[in-house]
Subunit: 213 residues, 2 copies
Amino acid sequence: MEMGIPMGRREQERRWRRQYILNVAERLFARKGYHQTTMAEISKASEFGMATIYQFFKSKEKIYIAIFNEKLDLLIRFVEEAVKRAKDPVEKIKVILKANFDFFKQHQDFFKLYSMEREAIAVIIKEDLGKGIYKKHHQGIKLVAEVIEEGIKRGYFHPLPPKDVAILFLGMMEEYINTWIKEDVDWEQKLKIITEVFLNGILNRKHQGERNV
Amino acid sequence: MEMGIPMGRREQERRWRRQYILNVAERLFARKGYHQTTMAEISKASEFGMATIYQFFKSKEKIYIAIFNEKLDLLIRFVEEAVKRAKDPVEKIKVILKANFDFFKQHQDFFKLYSMEREAIAVIIKEDLGKGIYKKHHQGIKLVAEVIEEGIKRGYFHPLPPKDVAILFLGMMEEYINTWIKEDVDWEQKLKIITEVFLNGILNRKHQGERNV
DNA sequence: CCATTTTTGGAATATTAATTCTAATTGATA
DNA sequence: TATCAATTAGAATTAATATTCCAAAAATGG
């Protein structure tokens, strides 16, 4: 199982089936939410019997957790990779936005699930693993906060509390993706708008003297 | 029942009890989510029997919907009132932020519920009334978008699509409140930060020449 | 205070759906 | 191909809980 030791056909098939079940469940959960999706439906849609599914996952809850954990890992890795390739903080912010947009365009079902239940998950899932997901969300905040902090140190950004700025940034991004993901929009355009607002704010230069914030 | 005709004691008591049930349910839903909260718990916590509760609400779902509808109405009215009192667009933006912060500080249980299930609600609630809630959310977006539009026309804000900016604004705000509502923070301070970021962006003046957004 | 109406508590019912079980099938090994 | 182990389908079981029902209690009005 460890890296380097090749998997036999048997094991590969197992993996493939496991993943298949997760994909089917993800689609169903995204469409109808956790509670409205029954094991019978997952069984039917995946064309596996109950026992088979329970072979792979101890419970419905575990399926749910697995989807979140695996997709969130994927996302975090994807964003981290992208950030590494950018040099200056402004570039990094742009790259984070683009990476998130791209990822969620590719995984729309998951995004739906994510925005639908990220907050609820601590409540839906009794198990401690639910907290692991919560932790991964904070890992995302931390990543952005570090970029912000670097940007402040290097004089690119206003000296504001990095964590606060990171939260504002992610809030913007999430709600924005959430609104537009359903529709068939020009993503380049959207990316430009959010970048513009976040970096430059909405205030027009000619009025900036007036500000008394 | 119409304005002007005074309610008898009987009717007033009924209202009070109805509201009491809603308050209890709200607290429970906020703590454990919709599905984890049972009618038995609502009955126990409110010290009303089942039949009594079903006297007031046809179903558990109706209780949930009632909470959302009534609180959202309250919020919208509260924000609209506040906006009326402000003159220029910059002031209006600040006032909207403050009104939301204040409202949710006052109604923390509801905020929890709101952020937990706003997205999920269309899925949790089968009934059409679920869509009414969705509509109210958009009413909020519209209100902000109008302020933005006015601001652009009067030259205060950059000419960006008002609805997009409104969504970004609300996303920021929601996530921000969400993060800090649990903790005992300096709200004035937080209000300043979000206002600053939204109005001026994070980019430092000295680097603005470099921007190639 | 009595008759009538309304309200109430909580037990009984019905439903829904997660999980387990069993018998049948499939696949591997020799 | 025969044997044994692993896998599977789907029915049966079980658990949870929303809703209904009914007898008892309380409020109302004459």
